[in-house]
């Protein structure tokens, strides 16, 4: 079963050195998850200030600056993992360093037969 772990938090709550420590610790976690066969992909995201939103309405494209929703917590990164069940996914989520500052939202992935199955 695949789960997407979405990492939310206040981007401004991190100092540069904290961020680097977090990347370092996350890389180690990725190595461990890869070794246990639970890793699919993961990455931090650039600041929400770099976000661009695209909408298509009545066949017309609308491009705007910024994220879709204004919230105090922003999406800052993600892990795509393979876990047996929700308890296993929770056990992985609690090892993500950003969980100590922000929130990790666990979303089960919908299995679509029409999608290529290499992931």
């Amino acid at each position: 079963m695949k789960y997407m772990l979405l990492i939310y938090g206040d981007e401004n709550a991190w100092t540069q050195s904290e961020r680097e420590d977090c990347y370092e610790e996350s890389s180690q976690l990725v190595q461990q998850l890869r070794a246990s066969g639970q890793y699919l992909s993961s990455s931090p995201l650039h600041s929400v200030e770099t976000a661009t939103s695209v909408r298509v309405r009545d066949g017309k494209k609308l491009v705007t600056d910024g994220p879709f929703a204004e919230t105090r917590e922003q999406l800052g990164g993600y892990y795509l993992i393979d876990a047996e069940n929700l308890d296993e996914a929770i056990a992985i989520a609690e090892r993500i360093p950003a969980a100590r500052k922000g929130t990790v939202e666990i979303r089960p992935i919908v299995k679509l037969l029409s999608l290529p199955s290499d992931q």
Partner: protein, 414 residues
Amino acid sequence: MMNENIAYPIHKQVDDLYRSESRRVFATLIRLLGDFDRAEEALHEAFAVAIEQWSRDGLPANPQSWLVSVGRFRAIDNIRRRTRFDASLAELAQQFDLTETAQIDEDVEDDRLRLIFTCCHPALSPEAQVALTLREVCGLTTEEIANAFLIAPSTLAQRIVRAKAKIRDARIPYQVPSIADLPERLDTVLQVIYLVFNEGYAASSGEVLTRTDLSTEAIRLGRLVMELLPDAEVMGLLALMLLQESRRTARTSSTGDLILLEDQDRSRWNQDYISEGKALILRSLSSEKFGSYTLQAVIAAVHSEAASAAATDWAQIVALYDVLFQMERSPIVGLNRAVAVAMRDGALTGLQQIDAILAQGDLSGYHLAHAARADLCRRLGRTADARASYQQALALVKQEPERRFLEKRLHELG
């Protein structure tokens, strides 16, 4: 053959079995079939076959495992039949068919524990945990649960459907948590049980003070968890519920009005519940792993030993609240402690403490905090202060018998 059972016909025996065993059979079927709805369907089919077959052949040697086995075969059959329309089910049917008989019988006792932990999974909302536990573990109907919580049956049904969908889609496992997670997960289970008990013991809103069915169900659940997992806090919670339940008939008048602890006829307290509660407390305390439920039970036990409110060992009660406050740091514990201090040291000291707690703001919306303040002011003869606090409590209270009680007290101030 048939004549032997004439006095006690088969359908009656099946009814009894349904009452006593259906939840156990259901729990095992969930493990074997991996899905609540499939297990529910299999359970009903198994009982339908039982009525037909047992009236002809008599009761099997082990009705419980007979029901599990028939339910499982019926479910596999059903899946096979649907396989013609849905290829993904074929794999599933084969997988179930390969389950060894040994696996079917293993851990049957643990199945009920698995079911409780799944229903009380922290990934479900507390409302959903309560509804699912009462529906799936206790076997209450949707209507019964909706009536007990004063909500529309359709709302409750939807809550249960959503929770089951989450269990399926997010794959909430059907298992007893790992040792590392057990204390935290057990805590959620105990919270659900105590929530059910409290709704039955001191309904948060509505016309009546107590709803016996919910408290009875909570105690039954407490006994079940206790049987499967005799942890110190499980004993503590069960003891606490029994000790509170012992006062049920004494705390409501014949007209449905609230009677305070100090005014209760203590000869009406249920001594069987009290001694069972006390025995559980001793077991919990001797394990030295007890927590806040056990401490609250000890406080209830101290009350149970006193012949009257005045004869109560208030010094001991204050000391117990001190330990509890160290553990929980909850303003409600602080409030209860202040009330006990008022009994030990006089109303003025208690009032000063309640005012300090109210000044912190956390309890300003809690009607019992204002009611406690009003009572102490009343005892001190501060009529205007008492009136203001009763009015504040009345503005916040949601339950009819408590409202009548507060109005009566306000009226008595003149």
